[in-house]
Amino acid sequence: MQLAVWTYEGPPHVGAMRIATAMEGVHYVLHAPQGDTYADLLFTMIERRAKRPPVTYTTFQARDLGGDTAELFKEAARDACARFQPQLLLVGASCTAELIQDDPGGLAKTLGLSIPVVPLELPSYQRKENWGASETFYQIVRACCTPHLPAPGTRRAPRAEGAKPRCNVLGPAALGFRHRDDVAEVRRLVEAMGIEVNVVAPLGATPADIARLGEAEFNVVLYPEIAGQAASWLKRSFGQPHTTVTPIGVGATRDFCAEVAQLAGVALPAEDDRLRLPWYSRSVDSTYLTGKRVFIFGDATHAVAAARVAAAELGFEVVGLGTYSREFAREVREAAKRHGVEPLITEDYLEVERAIQAVQPELVLGTQMERHIAKRLGIACAVISAPVHVQDFPARHSPQMGVEGANVIFDSWVHPLVMGLEEHLLSMFREDFEFHDEARASHLGAGARVPLELGSEVVPLAQPVPAPATVTPHAVAGGPVAWGKDAEEELRKIPFFVRGKARRNTERFAQDRGIATITVETLYDAKAHFSR
């Protein structure tokens, strides 16, 4: 048993949902109790997807456990096929259904469905979300591509004269950190080299598209956490090599392009002149970035890439590097050695918090969890990896990969920091009452970092006076207004972020009516008056 406050990854069936939801023409019948339907909101609320995830939950209850939960599963699978008409059906169990051992795969087989059924065995008590996504994608690729396997010993036919080299782009999924925008950037990179994208998967792919994966010459693996397993199977089965560099940052993007050019047998084109990070980093304003202490934590791909960008492209000092992806601990350990830090491999949010507290970095690059830690500790932070939050799906194009990805990284990691000259002034005039290290950044206006009660400093107030609760003393309209003790107490129960407005409105209301002392009744009369 493990004590968890927050978790970095959901259960493996949520990983399966991320694949099913990313694809078209796939439906997932999940044997699960009713509460497990919460997972839908990850997609509809956090990612703002306009469609329900293609998932049917059997939602069995305690009273079904004595009866026939297997029949319930079969009925749900039959209904889902009739209603949603998928081209491929995924079937599996969540943690609770795994315990009752109904064998969704075996049950689905008995239904005699006319579409391919892919049973998913995702051990909920051992594995987690990314593993579930990877396994699901791999099983779908195997199921769809196996009928098209080349006979053993056959060699790939040479490319037709004048035809462009073709690649697949593997890994982008639903609920991924900036996957939508990364796909656009990577497509731009490979197309600039005269390479055609055969299939992008799982994002936007149908089972029929997956069946065409073998037609490409090689695979571009964007996120090894999700596509690594499928890519190695494709390499073994179709002789397709795949990329090993994730193009996050300037150096990695250059390495990625070189790798792709070599795999496709094409010349490396000139660098895109939209790339601004190198000059921005060299310009004198960036001098103050030198040696900023940065702590990095996230999934392995993003954490390792961030460490390289931080050290080599922004001139930061990496003081911590870690991941929650145990499957990729080796890669993170190697990177940590390169940066001369102890790797932190853990799923325990509290351990990450302790590590951050211990090294006192000036910038944290992490997940939403580290953003929360950094906020509490008053440290600047930028998000670089899933788990994600609604803010990680910005309306604008905001990739991490490729040329524009590098530009986005420069902005989003540098802007949370205190800017150059401001930093000097802060250290010069430490004791200044308005301008001290607890102060907000100057562009946010004067004040403490902790938000004040809004409005309370705006309206000068008379001292509260005790007032009989039932009588409202009258005075001249427009005259000064005082707060009765009970009204003042009542006001404090209103949430702080609207309290200032409530205070101003009540005072205006009282003033207009010549009420000298605000009582609880006045407060609510005013609330009713302004309520529209």
Partner: protein
């Protein structure tokens, strides 16, 4: 209105027809209640004994709305625990010890059962007794189930409060007291305190209290009013301690609040004049504040997907006080006895459904094209994308909506999506 409220509620209607559905339930499980209960009982800690899914649910349900230092956590069962149950209990003791060491401020610890802990038949009540003995007197340990195979969403609060009832001290004697049951915002509790004082009803106590140690006494003199419509088990537990339920509609809207107060006033023998004097001001204020919302909402049709069991009282409020038309009122569970006064107030022929088959219900909703659909977070954006106006139901659980001075806020929650839709030109 006041006169109507003073009169007894309408005669019980003939058994209303209800469509009972069985299929995919698109609802939260009872664990979700922890999200508000841990804020309400401020020195309590909720430890879910469950799977990674439970932890992820709490984080996702909470993460959409709040992201503060939590007073809840999950003891995640892993494959080693599944190997043998004796081991599981030892593991739980270890996790609890670790937790209590880290959080010495905890006075009351709830072990919360989940789907997996129930399926493997982990006996949390025995574990709670054992741990209570070990940790006494610093920490009291109780248990309840928030599992999705046993509970739907707000039933988690019911199970939690029911687990507190045996802990309530006995009230000696038969002197009358009022117990208001169900988690309410503090500002609402204070308003009700003042109203009951004006009615001459008292002493008044609340369950749950703000601190774990503040458990109100209960005995044969206790009369209780439910402030929330989903407290069937808690009511039964209180009745078994000798308390008597005061039947009433729920305090939503001006009418609901007056009828709710009037039900208590009747037990205390408050005169009609005194009742009117105490409630007329608040009621008039509520109506005045609701008037602009009523202009927007009157005549609009509304469709409820099942969620919190608040649907029937809300539907009554929307139809009687704001003039909305009820297309379908879905509820996860219909407690006929506790809902009798509400059902009597619903318009004749209101379409009620209990349980859910989400796909069939979506078909009905699309066919009916209501002006407003009240639904959970999983359905809201997809329905908006289809051109429907929605109100997420979870906000109705997390917002102070009871009582006179919140009636307009409640109306505003329904008006806002329509106002927004009218404003947007994109």
């Amino acid at each position: 209105m006041s006169a109507a409220a003073a009169a007894p509620p309408c005669a019980a209607p003939a058994e209303r027809p209800v469509l009972r559905e069985r299929g995919q339930h698109e609802v939260f499980c009872g664990l979700t209640g922890i999200v508000w209960l841990h804020r309400k009982i401020q020195d309590a800690f909720f430890l879910v004994v469950g799977s990674r899914t439970c932890a992820h649910l709490l984080q996702s349900a909470a993460g959409v709305m709040i992201f503060a230092e939590p007073r809840f956590a999950t003891a995640i069962i892993d494959e080693r625990d599944l190997a043998g149950l004796a081991d599981c209990n030892a593991e739980l003791d270890r996790v609890v010890t670790q937790l209590v060491e880290r959080r010495p401020d905890i006075k009351l610890l709830f072990l919360v059962g989940s789907c997996p802990s129930e399926v493997i038949k982990l006996d949390l009540s025995r574990a709670a007794q054992r741990l209570s003995r070990q940790l006494a007197p610093a920490v009291r340990v109780l248990n309840y189930s928030g599992s999705g195979i046993e509970t739907t969403f707000t039933q988690g609060e019911d199970a939690c409060l029911a687990s507190l009832v045996p802990e309530m001290p006995a009230e000696p004697g038969t002197a009358r007291s009022l117990l208001v049951v169900g988690a309410l915002a503090e500002v609402v509790e204070d308003q009700f305190q003042r109203l009951f004082a004006a009615l001459g009803v008292g002493p008044v106590r609340f369950l749950p209290g703000r601190r774990a140690a503040d458990l109100p006494p209960v005995g044969t003199g206790t009369r209780f009013l439910l402030a929330q419509p989903f407290l069937g088990d808690t009511a039964r537990a209180l009745e078994s301690r000798g308390a008597t339920r005061i039947a009433a509609p729920f305090p939503l809207g001006a009418e609901g609040t007056t009828r709710w107060l009037a039900a208590a006033a009747a037990v205390w023998g408050t005169s009609p004049e005194k009742l009117r004097a105490a409630t007329a001001g608040g009621e008039a204020r509520a109506r005045q504040a609701m008037a602009p919302h009523r202009e927007r909402l009157a005549g609009q049709s509304v469709f409820f997907f099942p969620d919190s069991q608040l649907e029937i009282p809300l539907a009554r409020f929307l139809s009687r006080e704001l003039g909305m038309r009820l297309v379908e009122v879905g509820t996860p569970y219909l407690h006929r006895a506790h809902m009798a006064e509400e059902l009597a107030l619903l318009p004749e022929g209101t379409f009620l459904s209990e349980g859910q088959h989400v796909d069939r219900q979506l078909d009905r909703c699309r066919a009916a094209k209501p002006d407003m659909t009240v639904c959970g977070l999983g359905l809201a954006n997809p329905l908006e994308a289809e051109g429907m106006t929605t109100k997420w139901s979870i906000e109705l659980v997390f917002t102070p909506i009871q009582g006179y001075d919140q009636a307009a806020d409640l109306a505003g929650l329904f008006a806002r999506p329509l106002v927004r839709r009218a404003r947007l030109e994109v």
